[in-house]
C-alpha cells in the first residue's frame, strides 16, 4: 500500500470513528425527539405515527406549569445575583491583591468540585437552621452558589482580555474611577457578562441534584417535577418536555456561537 493511500485510509478511519462517537453523543437526544412525536402510550421504536398530543399534555400539566414558573423565578434571581456578585469578585481578583484572596477564590470556585448533593444537603440543613425552610430564598441562594464559578470565570477572562491602557487613557482624560468603570470598563465587559449570565441561567434552569434537596413541593423546579413524574409514569409526556428543552438549548447554543463565538470563549482555536 502506498503511503499516500495509507494516509487517506487512516484519515478516513479517523473521521468514521469521530462520526460514530458523535452519533453516540447525539442519538439519545434524537430518540427523545422521536418518542415525543409518537402517538402511542408505550415507548416504541419506530413510532407508529406522528402526534403532538404529548406536547399538549406536557404544557397543560399543572405540576409542570407551576414548576416551570418556579424555575423561571429561581433562575432569574439566581443568575442575576450571581452575575452581580461574580462580576464584582472577578474585578477584585483581576485588580487587587489582598489578604485572603486565594482562600476566597478557592471557596467561591469550590461549588464546581463539591458534589451537588453535598451542596444541596448542606443548604437543606442551613435552611432549617436559619428557619427559612425550603423557601424560594433558599433555592435561590443554593443556585447562586452553584452558578457563581461560571460567572466569575467568564467575566474574569473578559477582564484579562481588556486592554489596560483604555482605562488609563480614560483616567488620563480626566474620568473619575466611577466614570471609568461605568463608561469604559462595564461596556467592554458586557459580552463576557452576557455569556456568563447565559451559562448561569441555563445551568440554573436545568439543575437537578441540589434542587432535589432544597425544594419543597411548593418551590420545586422543572427538573425536580420531571423526576417525580418519571418515577410515577412511563408515558412520553416527559419526552415532550425533554424535547422542548433540547431544542431550546440547542437554539441558544447556536445563537451564542453566532454572536459570541464558542470556540473563542472556550479558547480552543488552533494557534
Amino acid at each position: 500500500m502506498s503511503p499516500r493511500l495509507a494516509a487517506r485510509l487512516g484519515s478516513g478511519l479517523f473521521w468514521a470513528a469521530v462520526a460514530l462517537i458523535l452519533a453516540y453523543m447525539t442519538i439519545p437526544a434524537l430518540v427523545v425527539l422521536m418518542t415525543s412525536l409518537s402517538p402511542s402510550e408505550l415507548l416504541e421504536f419506530p413510532p407508529s405515527g406522528l402526534s403532538l398530543k404529548w406536547y399538549a399534555r406536557a404544557v397543560s400539566y399543572p405540576d409542570f406549569q407551576a414548576a416551570f414558573a418556579n424555575g423561571l423565578i429561581v433562575t432569574a434571581f439566581a443568575s442575576t445575583c450571581a452575575l452581580a456578585v461574580g462580576s464584582a469578585f472577578a474585578y477584585l481578583i483581576d485588580r487587587y491583591v489582598f489578604p485572603g484572596r486565594a482562600a476566597l477564590e478557592a471557596v467561591l470556585s469550590s461549588p464546581l468540585i463539591v458534589p451537588h448533593f453535598t451542596t444541596g444537603f448542606g443548604f437543606l440543613l442551613l435552611g432549617a437552621g436559619l428557619g427559612i425552610g425550603r423557601s424560594y430564598l433558599l433555592v435561590i441562594l443554593a443556585h447562586v452558589m452553584l452558578v457563581l464559578p461560571f460567572v466569575i470565570r467568564s467575566v474574569y477572562v473578559s477582564l484579562r482580555n481588556l486592554d489596560p491602557h483604555l482605562e488609563r487613557a480614560a483616567a488620563n482624560l480626566g474620568a473619575s474611577p466611577w466614570r471609568v468603570l461605568s463608561r469604559v470598563t462595564l461596556p467592554l465587559l458586557l459580552p463576557g457578562m452576557a455569556g456568563g449570565w447565559l451559562v448561569a441561567a441555563i445551568l440554573s434552569l436545568t439543575e437537578f441534584t441540589a434542587s432535589l434537596y432544597v425544594t419543597a413541593e411548593r418551590t420545586q423546579t422543572l427538573p425536580v417535577a420531571m423526576y417525580t413524574y418519571i418515577r410515577e409514569y412511563t408515558d412520553p409526556t416527559i419526552a415532550a418536555i425533554a424535547a422542548l428543552l433540547i431544542l431550546g438549548t440547542t437554539a441558544l447554543i447556536f445563537v451564542a456561537n453566532r454572536y459570541l463565538g464558542l470556540r473563542r470563549i472556550l479558547s480552543i482555536d488552533a494557534h
Binding site: A88, Y96, T118, L125, R263
Partner: protein, 289 residues
C-alpha cells in the same frame, strides 16, 4: 502576570462584601454538614442528639463499603472511556480544516452539557429500556429474540455517564490540543515521523496535562453523579449519592447522610488536590506557561 497595586482601591469594599457573604453562606452550609456528621441520629425525628463518632464507624460496614467500591469502579471506568472517546472528537474539533465542520463539531459536542441531567438521563432510559431504541433495533435486525437488560445495570449506568462527561472532557482536551504548536507536528513529520508516530511522540505528550486533569475532573464529577445511577441504576446500582439520598430524604438519618456527603466531598477534593502539583510540573515541562 503582575497585578497592579494602586495606592487607592476604588470599589474595593463594595465589591468585596457580596463575595464574602456568598462565601460565608457556602461555608455555613458545608459547616452544617460537618456538624451533623458528629450528631446522634434519633429515629423518627428530624432533630438530632448529642455528639458522637458512631456515624463515621458505620461506613465500615460491608454493605456501605461495597457501594463505595462500586462508586469508585464506575467512576474510574467512566473517566477512562470518556477520555478514549473524547480525544478523537477534540482533535477533530481543533484540527478540522473547514470552519463549518469545526462549528458543527463544537455544537454537537457541547449541547448535551446544557440540556440538564434529567433530560439526558431520561433520554438514556428511552435508549436502553427493554422496549427502547437499542433493543428494538437489535430485535428488528433479528440479532436477539428477548430484550437485553441494559437498564438497571452498571453497564447502562456507565454508558450514560460517559456520554454526560464527554462535553467537559472534549472542551478540556480541545483547549490542550489547540495549545500544541502546529509546527511541532509538522517538524516531526518533516523529520520522518509517520502520522501515528507524530501523535504518539509529539501531540500526546504535549497534551498530557490536559489528559490527566480531564480524567481526574471526570472521575471526581462522576463520583458525585446522582440522577443517572438513581434512574438508570433503578436502585440496583447504588452509588454514594444514592445512599445520601436514601439516608437523607427517605430515612431522614441526617447525620449518616452528612457523613457520606463529607466522604464524597473529600474524595472529590482529594483527587483534584492531589494532581494539581503534578499537573503544574507537567505543564512546566511541556512549557505551556
Amino acid at each position: 502576570m503582575k497585578h497592579r497595586v494602586p495606592r487607592r482601591r476604588p470599589f474595593f469594599l463594595a465589591f468585596l462584601l457580596p463575595s464574602l457573604l456568598a462565601a460565608g453562606l457556602f461555608l455555613a452550609a458545608l459547616g452544617d454538614v460537618l456538624q451533623y456528621s458528629f450528631r446522634t441520629f434519633i429515629p423518627g425525628s428530624l432533630d438530632v442528639g448529642g455528639f458522637t463518632l458512631e456515624n463515621f464507624l458505620r461506613i465500615g460496614r460491608p454493605i456501605y463499603l461495597s457501594v463505595l467500591l462500586d462508586t469508585v469502579t464506575i467512576s474510574v471506568l467512566t473517566a477512562l472511556f470518556t477520555l478514549l472517546l473524547s480525544y478523537p472528537v477534540a482533535y477533530a474539533l481543533v484540527r478540522a480544516r473547514r470552519d463549518w465542520v469545526r462549528t458543527l463539531l463544537i455544537i454537537l459536542a457541547i449541547t448535551p452539557l446544557f440540556t440538564g441531567e434529567i433530560v439526558r438521563t431520561y433520554a438514556w432510559i428511552l435508549v436502553l429500556g427493554s422496549n427502547g431504541f437499542v433493543n428494538s433495533l437489535l430485535k428488528d435486525a433479528g440479532l436477539i429474540t428477548a430484550p437485553l437488560s441494559l437498564l438497571y445495570t452498571r453497564f447502562g449506568v456507565t454508558v450514560a455517564l460517559v456520554q454526560f462527561s464527554m462535553p467537559v472532557m472534549i472542551i478540556l482536551l480541545a483547549t490542550a490540543i489547540s495549545h500544541v504548536d502546529r509546527n511541532c507536528e509538522r517538524a516531526a513529520a518533516n523529520l520522518g515521523a509517520p502520522p501515528l508516530m507524530v501523535f504518539w511522540r509529539v501531540t500526546l505528550p504535549l497534551t498530557m496535562p490536559g489528559v490527566i486533569s480531564g480524567t481526574i475532573v471526570i472521575f471526581a464529577w462522576t463520583m458525585s453523579a446522582f440522577s443517572t445511577p438513581q434512574l438508570i441504576g433503578g436502585g440496583k446500582v447504588l452509588m454514594i449519592s444514592n445512599l445520601v439520598y436514601l439516608q437523607g430524604l427517605s430515612t431522614f438519618n441526617f447525620p449518616f447522610a452528612a457523613v457520606l456527603s463529607l466522604l464524597a466531598l473529600l474524595v472529590a477534593m482529594g483527587s483534584l488536590g492531589l494532581i494539581r502539583p503534578a499537573i503544574r510540573r507537567l505543564e512546566r515541562r511541556v512549557a505551556l506557561h
